[in-house]
């Protein structure tokens, strides 16, 4: 169960090697979380991530999960919930893609969309139903400011996150009053292996900062969290910028 401050005792990370996911898990394990499920494609990286959390004292299990195989989600995720309540599900998987290449290779672009959006729709719904029958729990969805308005430089990734974001908002409304809390997290540019080698955007942040914001959001039962918080204002302005102006902004 979650405590009065929204800190979960059991956590499921979808995208078990995600840096933000693991930073969040570490933060929560340092507080109350004792059981962690890391779901991801079986790999040494996944096992290493599990070992790291075990060293902190958590009971960690890994489970095979592939965002690109939605037909398996019902089974692979469903069995986790049969072993006990999950207080928080962190939907942290996603790929950035390579905009230039993806524009030339439509199938590569589709993979980005399928991972970030389609995979999240099926995994999100499977988990939401399980949480609903528990009568409690948080589903935390890692969206992105890139989904707030599509930019020339990464609109394939951005559009997939826009779809995910809209889906998560709607799911949150659908689950309102069921005891399940859906929180959409919109980080800006996060310094991580996903963005390694990219030119840093203004107001760049870190996985640890995102994790801290998630913990605060859980305490406040927030529905939307921006990281850093000031991005809420910046993106509100950018969203309403006329397209001819937006197009020319150095973003």
């Amino acid at each position: 169960m979650k405590d009065a401050f929204g800190t979960p005792q059991s956590l499921l990370v979808l995208g078990g090697t995600s840096e933000i996911g693991l930073a969040t898990a570490r933060r929560l394990v340092a507080r109350r979380t004792r059981t962690v499920w890391l779901a991801g494609r079986p790999s040494p990286a996944l096992e290493k991530a599990a070992a790291g959390l075990r060293d902190m004292g958590a009971d960690v299990k890994t489970v095979a999960f592939d965002a690109l195989d939605p037909e398996s989600h019902e089974e692979s995720l469903g069995k986790i919930f049969t072993e006990g309540d999950i207080d928080m599900v962190l939907l942290a998987f996603g790929v950035l893609g390579d905009q230039a290449r993806d524009e030339d290779e439509p199938l590569a672009a589709v993979r980005v969309a399928q991972t970030n959006y389609t995979g999240a729709v099926s995994a999100g719904l499977v988990c939401a139903r399980a949480l609903q029958s528990q009568g409690h729990g948080s589903l935390v969805v890692l969206s992105s400011v890139a989904g707030e308005r599509a930019r020339r430089s990464n609109f394939i990734y951005g559009s997939s996150k826009a779809g995910l974001d809209a889906f998560a908002q709607g799911l949150g409304d659908a689950l309102h009053g069921t005891g399940v809390h859906v929180m959409v997290v919109r980080p800006g540019f996060v310094r991580s292996k996903m963005t390694a080698g990219l030119e840093e955007a203004p107001m760049a942040t870190t996985p640890d900062a995102v994790a801290a914001a998630i913990e605060t959001g859980l305490r406040r039962r927030s529905e939307t969290v921006w990281v850093p918080g000031a991005l809420r204002l910046v993106m509100s302005a950018l969203r309403h910028a006329p397209r001819p102006v937006f197009r020319r902004l150095p973003l």
Partner: protein
């Protein structure tokens, strides 16, 4: 009449043994933190209660009274919550008894869903009072036993269940067991947070009173040491004793406080021509309008609470004796404002109450210093001395000092801070109060409650499927 055939089960919903069931609703404790969703079932008879327990499904059920437990003790995510306020009959009031000392004695037999408020309405005009009342009248008898509540008279009278002569408990197998003090089920149920079964009714001993007024002495203590000295020296002279303590006061004023102590006023204490003389046993608690349902966060910050505390301390007389106060003013000042818990806003508040034994005063001083140095905005901090331990296996009181405070849940870093206080409490062989808890670490429990294993063993025996379950029991693996 249990229906076994599938044909019968379809008509069960309208059968007289089925209690009204709501669609899934959000349920939270009085602190309004961590709400979860459950099916609310409201049995109106013992048979309906038994049916509700039989039919509660795989996520189990838990009895709930008036929802005054601060944390998650009376919520059950995804399962059933039995709203016991439908079982609210006072069955027998027996005033013919005499106590061991020959003094008049009385008992009341009532359903578990009867509130202490209702008991006072009925019993006070007859010259009887409940043996123990907490800071609110709006708790049920079942809840009072389940949390084994204590009041300002613990140092004299012990906890509520000390005055319970017998009770009926509906256990997981659907049978009703009548138990008394000394029975394992009785002692596990007193303070057992509803996890041993559903309390259906109880026989409670009453206290004779001549008036419905309290004779109250008030004095101020300038700091914590002064307070502890005054309490130690004079507590035994009063049936009721409590100190309000200003936890925002720092430095030399740390622990400054207002002591209020008193007893039920005898008839001849009322002035000759006072109006109260005409109806000395009248019970008329006043009530203000309820707090609005949506209040912004942060009303109770350090500045506002600091100001309140300053005024509250200054307002109290340095010393005043024999003041006559209404029962509601003396015991239940907050009941005058329905839904006062809303002033903490949407994210609610946590109540922290712990006890450390006599001889561990240094731990108490250290904790008070830490709270005051951190500046927790608590405007309702209360210190009192407990008397003898009570027999309940998970009963909270033990001989020592108990401090209770409430703090807005949105105070950053509060969780980690309270975890540190838990460590100090446990190191001093103390414990925190489960009826108020919403955040304790499960690992701390065994150190704080030495009879936890007995409690678990009895539950495993009487309820192997885990029918009785709550968010509290899941969180702490009770």
């Amino acid at each position: 009449m249990p229906a076994d055939s599938p044909a019968d089960s379809r008509t069960r919903a309208s059968a007289p043994t089925s209690a009204p069931t709501s669609p899934a609703v959000s349920v939270s404790g009085w602190g309004r933190t961590a709400p979860t969703t459950a099916m609310l079932v409201r049995p109106r008879t013992q048979e309906e209660a038994a049916a509700a327990v039989r039919e509660c499904g795989e996520r189990g059920g838990i009895a709930r009274g008036l929802g005054r437990a601060y944390g998650d003790a009376a919520q059950n995510a995804g399962g059933a919550v039995f709203d016991m306020t439908g079982l609210d009959r006072i069955r027998v009031i027996d005033t013919t008894r005499t106590s061991d000392t020959g003094a008049p004695a009385a008992t009341v037999v009532c359903d578990a869903g009867v509130s202490l408020h209702h008991l006072m309405e009925v019993l006070l005009p007859l010259g009887w009072f409940v043996p123990v009342t907490p800071g609110t009248r709006y708790v049920t008898v079942g809840g009072a036993i389940g949390a084994d509540i204590h009041g300002k008279n613990h140092h004299v009278s012990g906890s509520f269940s000390r005055h319970v002569l017998a009770m009926d408990v509906l256990t997981a197998d659907g049978t009703v067991r009548t138990v008394g003090p000394g029975d394992a089920l009785f002692d596990a149920t007193a303070g057992g947070m509803g996890l041993t079964g559903v309390i259906l009714s109880a026989t409670v001993q009453l206290l004779p009173v001549e008036t419905s007024l309290m004779a109250v002495d008030t004095e101020r203590a300038t700091d914590l040491d002064d307070l502890m000295a005054r309490l130690t020296a004079t507590d035994h002279r009063y049936r009721y004793s409590v100190a309000w303590i200003d936890l925002l006061a720092r430095g030399a004023a740390m622990g400054r406080s207002v002591l209020t102590r008193g007893d039920h006023a005898p008839l001849d204490a009322l002035p000759e021509r006072a109006r109260a003389r005409r109806a000395p046993l009248a019970f008329r608690p006043g009530q203000l309008p309820a707090a609005p349902s949506f209040l912004p966060e942060g009303l109770l910050g350090k500045a506002s609470v600091g100001l309140f505390n300053e005024l509250w301390y200054r307002k109290a007389p340095r010393s005043r004796t024999g003041e006559l106060q209404k029962i509601s003013t003396f015991f239940h000042p907050l009941d005058g404002v329905p839904h006062w818990n809303r002033v903490y806003g949407r994210s609610g508040f946590v109540q922290y109450q712990f006890v450390v034994g006599y001889g561990k005063e240094e731990a108490l001083r250290h904790i008070v210093r830490r709270i005051s140095e951190r500046g927790c905005p608590s405007f309702l901090a209360v210190l009192k001395r407990f008397g003898e331990s009570d027999p309940g296996w998970l009963s909270f009181p033990m001989p020592g000092w108990t401090l209770a405070l409430d703090i807005p849940a949105n105070l950053p870093g509060l969780g980690a801070f309270l975890d540190e206080l838990d460590e100090e409490v446990a190191a001093a062989d103390g414990r925190v109060y489960l009826a108020k808890d919403s955040r304790l670490r499960p690992e701390m429990l065994a150190a704080m409650y030495p009879r936890l294993d007995d409690f678990r063993a009895l539950r495993a025996e009487l309820d192997p499927r885990g029918v009785f379950r709550s968010d509290l029991s899941r969180r702490l693996t009770l």
